[in-house]
Amino acid sequence: MSINRIMENPSVKTALSIENLNYSYGSKSILKDIDLEIPSGEFVIVLGVNGAGKTTLFSLISTLLLMQKGEVRICGHSILSERTAALKNIGLVFQHTTLDMDLTVGQNLTYFAGLQGLAAQDVIARINDVVNLVDSRDMLREKVRRLSGGQRRRIEIARALISQPRLLIMDEATSNLDVKTKKVLSDRIRKLSKTANTTILWSTHRVEEINDKDRVVILHQGEIYDDDTSEGLRNKYGKPLETILMDLSR
């Protein structure tokens, strides 16, 4: 869904709204004038080569980096003035693992549920739901240290879903996964955006993770290069996404 479609239909609620976002490290500009609006329930790919600014963008949205210029709103809440309310609506899967290696999967998930302020009576049911979603129920008593990279990634995705977020942010979330698991998880997460109206913001540099109907935001050198469906981009440029990306990286 494009920004124009939202403006035509103001009743559509916006999950994420970014206005004039800029960020720089010293004199080096990392993000420049980013404007992005994502309605509830949409599945959006942020595509860009390494160093395009994807992780910086996600770090600003998740408040890990301090805003320098611009505005970010999550489900209507500004991350500057209503940080707590904004973060209540987010689920995060970071690029690198953030699981506690010394604890079991169950303990990690319980810890996270507590940080989200979930009442004890809800925690077990929620944990069961999310581990079933990623086929990891049998791992609950396993120490994270003993899991493979792919298994850890599945647990991190499960963890991000415990709070039933309205916006799920996944930074290169399917890295370390084998092809089959990647496909299964990707399908389930896409389904979530339809069934639970969860908005998904998925960053990747792998075009094979993108479906024809997915909305793709191409980030290049800190700027939004284009924003359309995968199919639309292919038609517009007359070449596959992979080639568009390769041309940009030259």
């Binding site: 890990l64 707590t84 319980t110 507590g114 940080l115």
Partner: protein, 264 residues
Amino acid sequence: MTAHKRAVIVFCAICRREFLKFSQQYARLLSALVRPLVWLVIFAAGFRSILGVSIVPPYQTYITYDVYVVPGLCTMVLMFFGMQTSLSMVYDREMGTMRLLMTAPFPRALLLLFRLISTGLIGVLQVYAFLLVAMLLGIELEILNLLFVAPLLLLVAILFGALGFLLSLTIRQLENFAGVMNFVIFPSFFLSSALYPLWRIQESSPLLAEISYWNPFTHAVEAIRYQLYGDFKTLSVIYLVVVTVASLLTVMFAYAKRDVMKIR
């Protein structure tokens, strides 16, 4: 859900994680016990005949050197624990778990305070473990005083934890930590009344005595010493409260204003 109830849930989650992690680190508990016991059993035995301690408040009579050093060793346990807390902060930053804490939908300052209190509680338990062994070795302490000293121990644990947090901001890599610890722990320990009364330092160097007097470690030792013998050292407690609040505010401000990504 009310804000209070939510705060309790978040605090319990952080506490549970810290206790779970600590329960798996037997070596940490052992080292926390062995370090002060080495001082108590070996060092104090060796210096017992050299360093006579005259009657100094709160003691009502002459005491042996091992009795004198116990409050200082309690403080030492808490200081090492505070520094280990900062080490675990650096570790959490390197392992990424700090990001999880910092993106929780809860005020960041309170998250840090909860973390400090929960690690402080573990530090207090370590002190009690040490005191138990000290009592088995013949140090006489009253049970009631042991109970009343708990809030003070927690205050000191939070203070050292906060100072450790501040220290962790300056450390970029885990490998640099041991060196920094040596520059902090040992001068703080030796420039205090933990091993000898301040008047003894005054005799040899008034300047060092003055520095020792302003050292928060000295006031922590003295406040604990008085409380362990049923007395209350108001000035030291006030000093500790002020330094702790100032350290906490600095930590909270530093974390609120710094990029978590950049702290790495």
